[in-house]
């Protein structure tokens, strides 16, 4: 560990983290920003499809450029733990890879901004472990490569407004999008929430793109099974009732399936530090923050999806509000409250995010799509039957299902299957307990050992 602590360390280089870091750096704070990706941008901007640019990309790129030179931007750095030192500072434990292998990097910070975004929330169904089945976010990431998708026959399924940008992006990249199947109903394309929010231009552009490429958009439909020998060759598309029970099915041939049922905010750095959480309308645990984006733990702020999923604009606004509050705390003389415009926008986008979550819930009928041998946890290859067995043996919640049947014990630490296991156990997802947020080699971990005697280390 080297030198004086940073005034602020930001984890996450999406719109929230970059806005927060830039706000603080422009005010003269010593800032470091870490992101596991090779480039800044986060889930939305890192993978923005070229040539037709996503709305907001120019603005984001400008902020990222301004940050360069004003803050230490450490890409390809994965943070696996943040802990509080006895003296009150925070220690940020990260790993980076270079030609000589994996290397630990440890930063000291007076303040932390958690801007770690969210990850896709898949649901299991028969065949979801076949090659060719991707998450919506994964499909979006592939867009970066452009050509990879040209000529592929893609089906998109799940719920939520973010299936649309994925569909139009894929279509523009030259893939044949055979259908977008939205499991929830009612709204349809004409009453899409983006329209309701005055983002009519954006939604209309997606709609136009879908129309131009003759992509059917069907509500109350979902892919409930994928078929194929070695990879996806076809999927079963079902018409659903409002609870997502199957009314009728048909087979659609395809070679790629992208699925997304919402997002799981990544809050484990917060829970490592003991930050309080609350349930978002869709049941996801998120970090509880006050008007200045402060968590319940002193010195720790959060912005963007870890405080609730509401799109990239909200993420950026929250990042700016957090940045200002951090500056205000670090430089009390320069203190000035976040201005009304930001707060108003945050309120508006938060309402939008919550409305989306209510409009696109996950309904219980998906559990009827599973068979006894459907894998619930792919890492540990746990089929539904074993989960049921655990419940019969006396598991009463997701944690005890995990202890008895191992779902969530593997490589991804339950990021993929955690939501489904909670539903199967009949409870809302609980805040994650992941003291090691990302895999770390024992060699790198050993280097974090203090050199003094063990008894001192325990204090």
């Amino acid at each position: 560990m080297t030198g004086a602590p940073y005034d602020l360390v930001v984890v996450g280089g999406g719109p929230a983290g970059v806005a927060g870091a830039l706000t603080a750096a422009l005010a003269g704070l010593r800032v470091a920003l870490l992101d596991s990706g090779a480039r800044l941008g986060g889930q939305y901007f890192r993978h923005a499809a070229v040539p037709e640019r996503e709305p907001g990309l120019d603005r984001f790129l400008l902020q990222a450029r301004l940050l360069d030179g004003r803050a230490d931007v450490l890409t390809r750095h994965q943070v696996w733990n943040v802990s509080r030192e006895p003296g009150g500072d925070l220690t940020v434990h990260a790993l980076t890879r270079d030609s000589s292998g994996e290397r630990p990097v440890t930063l000291r910070a007076r303040r932390l901004l958690i801007a770690t975004g969210a990850h896709d929330r898949p649901l299991p169904f028969p065949g979801w472990d076949l090659p060719g089945v991707l998450t919506a976010g994964g499909a979006q990431a592939l867009l970066k490569g452009g050509g990879v998708l040209a000529g592929r026959r893609v089906v998109i399924s799940g719920t939520g407004p973010f299936l649309l940008p994925v569909a139009s992006g894929l279509a523009r990249a030259g893939a044949a999008v055979l259908g977008v199947y939205e499991a929830n109903g009612g709204l349809g394309l004409a009453r899409h929430p983006l329209l309701a929010l005055g983002k009519a231009g954006e939604a209309a552009a997606y709609a136009a793109a879908l129309a131009r490429h003759r992509v059917p958009y069907r509500t109350r439909h979902a892919v409930i099974a994928a078929h194929g020998e070695r990879e996806v060759e076809a999927v079963t598309v079902a018409r659903l009732d409002p609870d997502w029970n199957v009314l009728s099915t048909r087979i659609v041939g395809c070679d790629t399936l992208a699925v997304g049922y919402g997002f799981v905010p990544q809050i484990e750095l917060g829970t490592q530090l003991g930050c309080e959480t609350r349930g978002d309308p869709d049941g996801s645990p998120v970090l509880r923050v006050d008007a200045a984006q402060r968590t319940s733990v002193p010195g720790v702020w959060a912005a963007g999806e870890p405080t609730g999923v509401a799109g990239w604009r909200q993420a950026e606004v929250e990042g700016r509000i957090a940045g200002r509050a951090i500056v205000g705390e670090a430089r009390p003389i320069a203190r000035r409250g976040p201005d009304g415009v930001l707060l108003r926008r945050r309120r508006q986008w938060r309402a939008f995010g919550e409305a989306l979550q209510r409009a696109y819930p996950v309904r219980p009928g998906w559990q009827s799509w599973l068979r006894d041998d459907t894998l619930v946890c792919r890492c540990e290859e746990v089929p539904l039957a074993r989960v049921r067995e655990a419940l019969e043996l006396g598991a009463t919640d997701a944690r005890s299902v995990k202890l008895l049947a191992r779902p969530g014990m593997g490589w991804c630490q339950g990021r993929v299957c955690g939501y489904a296991v909670s539903c199967l156990a009949g409870e809302a997802p609980r805040p994650p307990r992941r003291p090691v947020a990302q895999p770390v080699t024992l060699g790198a971990l050993a280097e974090a050992a203090p050199e003094d005697s063990p008894d001192e280390a325990a204090q």
């Binding site: 733990n81 540990e380 043996l393 895999p439 024992l442 050993a446 063990p454 008894d455 325990a458």
Partner: protein, 380 residues
């Protein structure tokens, strides 16, 4: 009304319930959480004879070792008779290990420095030697506890063993001095005898009955690696320091390398011990030290990734012995708790002996060293 109410559905409570049902008693198990959701859900599952000093705990461990083998034959969980290898860094330590092995009277084989790699090909160079204990074994503790309860419920007649989960015990009912059951969040549950198998929370249950049991939490962290394709480690392997740490009275942090593979392909790395109350905050220095010690023992682990870690709170008594037996201060109250870092290993013997008591038989082992009122005598 049951003959016996067991408070706690951890591995110890499960074993008590199983053996009591087998003895023909009618049992109700209550737990505020799921099966094995307490310390049993954060233990490693070693069934060890190698790490015990000669004395009552070793006798308990030897009895338990045989019982685990018999229980495993019913199926439902894996019992891995993998054997344990204790390694010595120096000749002096090797000499002390030899001396201990001689006194234990447990089956063992002395291993010279040169032979160590026949047992564990990936061990570091330069170790002085070790002792191999073939009886050391491992179970998956959560499944073992759940299977004992399931098996008990299915084998000894309908309704003999009932399980009530999500039920918190809030009081101990008494009539004329005798225990008559427990008060719970879901109403009163009546029984002739109450077995306190609440592990680290055993002191709280005792307090509800008006008696004191000095059981404290002793925190331990475990690191779990990614699953390895080829097993790297065959036995449970630990350094001699483990034995002294287990027996230590220090509240400060103590760590020693305890490394083993599991059927899932992961490697479990322990063991740390510290008395910090019920604090779950992850201590990176502790994890780092565990990693450091494991890598020193098995250099090939350097490139292997830790994917998770968890911690638990061993139920710890000042003299490092469990509390097993009838509480003379409260007729009808029995204890089976305080097994510290060995409750999984010691569970069957505990259940078996307690069931003998409950059924009015003479226990196979002398239970005096484990008696519940021994602490107050010491204080007096």
């Amino acid at each position: 009304m049951s003959d016996v109410i067991v408070v706690g559905a951890g591995v110890v409570g499960a074993a008590c319930a199983y053996y009591a049902a087998r003895a023909g008693l009618d049992v109700t198990v209550v737990d505020r959480g799921p099966v094995a959701g307490g310390t049993t859900g954060s233990g490693e599952g070693n069934v060890l004879v190698s790490d015990k000093e000669p004395g009552p705990e070793l006798e308990l461990a030897m009895l338990s070792n045989g019982l685990w083998r018999a229980l495993a034959e019913h199926g439902g969980f894996e019992f891995e008779p993998k054997g344990g290898l204790v390694v010595a860094e120096t000749d002096e330590i090797q000499r002390r290990l030899t001396e201990l092995a001689g006194k234990q009277g447990v089956e063992h084989a002395m291993v010279s420095g040169a032979e160590l790699r026949d047992y564990e090909p990936h061990l570091a160079e330069g170790l002085a030697g070790g002792v191999y204990y073939p009886q050391d074994a491992q179970v998956q503790p959560m499944l073992a506890a759940a299977s004992l309860l399931r098996h008990g419920a299915e084998s000894f007649g309908r309704g003999t063993l009932r399980l009530r989960l999500g039920v918190t015990v809030t009081g101990v009912l008494r009539s004329g001095g005798r225990v008559t059951g427990v008060r719970t969040s879901q109403g009163d549950v009546l029984g002739d005898a109450v077995v306190n198998a609440a592990g680290t929370w055993g002191g709280e249950i005792a307090a509800l009955a008006g008696v004191e049991l000095p059981i404290l939490p002793r925190r331990g962290f475990i690191l779990v690696t990614e699953p390895l394709r080829e097993p790297l480690i065959r036995h449970k392997v630990y350094t001699a320091a483990y034995v002294t740490n287990v027996a230590s009275d220090s509240a400060g942090l103590e760590t020693s390398a305890v490394v083993e593979g599991t059927p899932a392909g992961t490697v479990l790395i322990g063991a740390s011990r510290e008395r910090v109350g019920f604090d779950r905050t992850t201590s990176v220095p502790v994890l780092a030290r565990l990693a450091e010690q494991a890598v020193a023992l098995f250099p090939a682990l350097r490139e292997v990734r830790a994917i998770r870690s968890y911690c638990g709170f061993r139920p710890y008594c000042p003299d490092h012995l469990p509390v097993i037996g009838a509480d003379p201060r409260v007729p009808g109250l029995y204890h089976a708790c305080g097994h510290e870092g060995a409750g999984i290993g010691l569970a069957p013997a505990t259940g078996h002996l307690l069931a003998q008591l409950l059924a009015g038989e003479r226990p196979d082992l002398d239970l005096r060293p484990f008696r519940p009122d021994r602490f107050s005598e010491e204080a007096a």
